[in-house]
């Protein structure tokens, strides 16, 4: 009974979505009958668009927002128990938890997909998945992990922490924030439905013409990705505005915690570049549904257009993933080395430099695509230039650890492992940026290993560091330190064994996205598969630790790490209004070891009280 009332907004959203689905599908049928195009795709598109609108209105958009637009008073939400996590709430901390939990679940699902793939690849020939099933599994693994990589930090960590770290009471647009979360569940539903619509065998990159001619599952994927893009744009907009406008008094640009800077940089990319992938996906949808000719060669269409548009987003997108990971890693390294962040200003400059460069490197994904050879050298040069700002980040990491008082807790171990893994990811990136070597390595397991080193070894390790580091702040309880260390060592070792072996497979000529391979590669593939099973198992320790500690961990103090940044200056978990007395920032966040230095002082009582809601 209680559960039903708690899930009321979701049930309402679902029923509205059903109504929308029927209306949209009806319109779609009307459209197909008028245009004599015998196709189910317009029905899917319109049905989905209306179902999405229905879902959003039902789940809370109408009550919290829509009513205002027709001149009615809005209805607020209430509740402090578990039900608040299932509502369209505007509290950034709840939205942060919603994001984090959602994407940890998505990560585990995508992890299961990867285990299925590795079972299939254990031996040549068919093991458990047919070719189409394999391709769908591989594509689902790809897009779900991309979503995890894009949204876990910006959506989860930044939502929970960024307003706290800059001393604000919420983000700039709390309702847009809620909207950008509640847009995500339909994405997950669509993706999980793709196997029932014939799957999609195009990978997450969805290159046309393949993605124009294959099963309806592809269309579901395109709509899902497009919807996710909308969420990503809204998130970027929200964080930029929040950082620019809502900093506490005294929180100058030079005093922003490095994590906030990294989100600022990533949000710039997410705000702008995402429009390009949205347009790329729209082109495929138009080709499929309305029969346009973006990619039909006989009408002057050209698949290279999609590749350019797609990578104009998707290369900067890896910096949406990795910049916040730099932020988390540097944040953790600083606090657990008990030393100021080395070369803070240079790191900020490096972040912004990476943002700038990220927009002019995209065509290094296209060295073997048949684009004009004259473009090879310019893109090779810009791509390799990225190693200079990235080098600054490494210098900062090493300079911070140097001579510190290293407190080797679980988050610190993950942050150090991040440096190691990302180093390998970065160095192998050079091999792919250089045209001569890339001609051989393009679309090869070397690429697979490389981007897993940057995204998994880099970002996911940083996410792990962040999960453990901020766990007491989010839940008010400590995680189990011993289990955390067991998780770290098992994950670190199995991870490296798995993916170092993949470099070898790539050099030996294993090309990527294949369900089958020549028998000569059987040994290395069996090795990778077995290692990957252990890697997958290590996540069970994480899940057990998180669930157990959230339920029964020891109660955490406000600042268990004695860290200086603002989120630790309020209770764990923080109250609804974040700071009982709005803080005033008076010093740098990382001045460890500077005698008498203070980052923030609570505002004088008289000044603060009138601002409380």
């Amino acid at each position: 009974m209680a559960a039903a009332s708690g899930l009321k907004p979701i049930l309402k959203g679902l029923s509205f979505a059903l109504v929308g689905l029927l209306i949209g599908a009806g319109l779609g049928l009307l459209f197909t009958s008028l245009t004599n195009r015998p196709s189910t795709e317009p029905v899917i598109v319109l049905g989905y668009v209306f179902a999405l609108l229905g879902w959003l209105l039902g789940v809370g958009l109408w009550d919290a927002w829509g009513r205002e637009w027709v001149g009615l008073p809005v209805q607020g939400e209430a509740g402090h128990d578990w039900r608040r996590f299932f509502r369209f709430t505007t509290d950034h901390k709840i939205i942060g938890v919603q994001y984090l939990v959602t994407f940890v679940v998505v990560m585990l699902l995508a992890g299961i997909a990867s285990v299925l793939m590795r079972v299939e690849l254990m031996a040549p020939g068919k093991n458990i998945l047919g070719p189409n099933e394999f391709n769908t599994t591989m594509s689902l693994h790809g897009i779900m992990m991309i979503a995890v990589a894009v949204a876990t930090i910006i959506g989860g960590f930044a939502n929970f922490l960024l307003p706290l770290m800059i001393g604000a009471d919420d983000v700039a647009f709390p309702r847009i924030n809620a909207l950008s979360y509640w847009i995500i569940p339909p994405v997950a539903v669509l993706l999980l439905l793709t196997p029932f619509f014939g799957g999609f065998d195009s990978g997450w990159t969805a290159y046309p013409p393949l993605s124009v001619i294959n099963a309806h599952g592809q269309l579901l994927f395109l709509l899902a990705f497009l919807t996710f893009g909308v969420s990503s744009i809204l998130g970027g907009l929200n964080f930029l505005t929040t950082i620019i406008k809502l900093r506490a008094p005294g929180m100058t640009w030079g005093r922003l915690p490095i994590f906030v800077w990294s989100i600022f940089a990533a949000a710039l990319i997410s705000l702008t570049a995402t429009q390009f992938v949205a347009y790329g996906l729209l082109m495929i949808i138009l080709d499929r549904v309305v029969g346009m000719s973006f990619f039909r060669a006989s009408e002057g269409g050209n698949p290279l257009l999609y590749e350019h548009i797609f990578w104009f987003y998707s290369h900067p997108a890896v910096y949406i993933m990795i910049l916040p990971a730099f932020g988390i890693a540097l944040e953790v390294l600083t606090h657990f080395s008990r030393k100021p962040l080395f070369a803070y200003k240079w790191v900020v400059g490096a972040f912004l430099g990476i943002v700038g460069l990220s927009f002019i490197v995209w065509a290094h994904h296209l060295y073997t695509s048949g684009m004009p050879n004259s473009l090879h050298i310019p893109f090779m040069v810009t791509t390799e230039l990225i190693s200079i700002p990235t080098g600054v980040v490494f210098l900062a990491a090493l300079g911070t650890i140097w001579m510190g008082r290293l407190w080797l807790t679980t988050p610190m171990l993950f942050a150090i492992a991040f440096v190691f893994n990302f180093l390998i990811g970065g160095v192998t990136g050079i091999f792919l940026a250089d045209v001569p070597t890339d001609i051989q390595l393009q679309d090869n397991y070397f690429v697979v290993a490389h981007f897993h080193y940057t995204i998994m070894g880099g970002e996911i390790f940083a996410i792990m560091a962040g999960l453990y580091y901020w766990f007491p702040k989010v839940t008010g309880r400590m995680y189990h330190e011993k289990l955390g260390k067991v998780h770290f060592w098992s994950m670190f070792l199995t991870y490296n064994v798995t993916f170092l072996a993949m470099f070898w497979a790539g050099i030996q000529g294993m090309n990527r996205r294949v369900a089958d391979y020549i028998p000569d590669l059987a040994g290395i593939n069996l090795f990778v598969s077995i290692a990957s099973f252990f890697l997958a198992a290590s996540f069970l320790i994480l899940v057990y630790n998180l669930v157990r500690s959230w339920a029964r961990g020891t109660v955490a103090s406000a600042s268990p790490w004695r860290a200086r940044t603002l989120e630790w200056q309020t209770s764990s978990p923080p109250p609804l209004e974040n700071f009982p007395h709005p803080p005033v920032v008076v010093g740098h966040p990382y001045d460890y070891g500077v005698p008498g230095s203070v980052h923030a002082a609570p505002a004088p009582v008289g000044g603060g009280s009138e601002d409380e809601r």
């Binding site: 013409p209 250089d434 001569p436 051989q440």
Partner: protein, 251 residues
């Protein structure tokens, strides 16, 4: 400070020397068989990049390992570390090193390697092979010999070959692992790639002699491959003659 730095320096040198030794000793045996002059350029570039990468890896590894060993605190640290905010000489050296390395790898093997490959591409080919791809097969045409086949790619050794690649349906990619050369097959477009096979061999003896699709094209992607055979010119001529006879007979 100086003592720490000195130890890291020595550790770095040690790791770097061992690493370079391993690269130089092991690199030649790392790669699968290479059967084209262009492939050797690619492998040399790869080896050179490994030689460049080793000192970088060794430096970060030495610093990390030494810091972990000597700066770790037992339990909760009771006091903070020294408040070092930045260090101009270190930054200067670091920028010098990263900019220098970046410039080096752009010039060599990046630009020089590309130049070598481009020079070969400009050369007049001894043989032109047209490759049309479709899900999930290859139609290989020898215009001069007026033959075509779906079965295998046969090439004479020592001859500079230009492949003119196009696709009849979706994106594919022409890739022969033993040649290290790759180019996408794009519908509506002819892309070219070159190879000069310098070693005879065939798929039976070495699976790297295969023409493999390297761009995801659907359910048959992983099995979209045909054998490659590199033979002496005489043998190639005989094969071509036999093929054209077969073609006439079937007409």
């Amino acid at each position: 400070m100086n003592r720490h730095a000195l130890i890291v320096l020595l550790l770095w040198l040690l790791l770097a020397v061992v690493g370079e030794f391993l690269v130089v000793r092991l690199a030649p045996g790392m790669f699968p068989v290479v059967a084209a002059e262009e492939g050797e350029i690619v492998d040399n570039a790869f080896t050179f990049l490994m030689i460049l990468a080793v000192p970088v890896l060794a430096f970060v590894l030495a610093t990390l390992l030494y810091s972990l060993a000597s700066f770790r605190s037992r339990g909760t640290p009771s006091q903070d570390g020294p408040p070092i905010h930045t260090n101009r000489p270190v930054l200067f050296v670091w920028f010098l090193a990263t900019i220098g390395l970046t410039a080096l790898m752009i010039v060599h093997p990046g630009i020089t390697g590309m130049r070598e490959l481009a020079d070969r591409a400009d050369r007049e080919p001894d043989l032109v092979v047209k490759v049309e791809t479709m899900r999930f097969g290859w139609r290989i045409t020898y215009p001069e010999q007026k033959i075509n086949t779906f079965q295998e790619l046969v090439l004479p050794v020592g001859k500079h070959v230009r492949f003119e690649v196009t696709s009849l349906d979706v994106l594919h990619a022409f890739w022969v692992p033993a040649f290290r050369m790759k180019i996408d097959a794009v519908p509506g477009m002819v892309t070219t790639v070159h190879a000069t096979p310098n070693r005879t061999g065939g798929f039976q003896n070495d699976p790297n002699f295969r023409l493999q699709c390297a761009e995801l094209c659907g359910i048959g992607h992983s099995v979209m491959q045909v054998p490659v055979r590199v033979v002496e010119q005489k043998e190639f001529d005989a094969w071509a003659a036999q093929q054209s006879k077969l073609a006439r007979r079937s007409n």
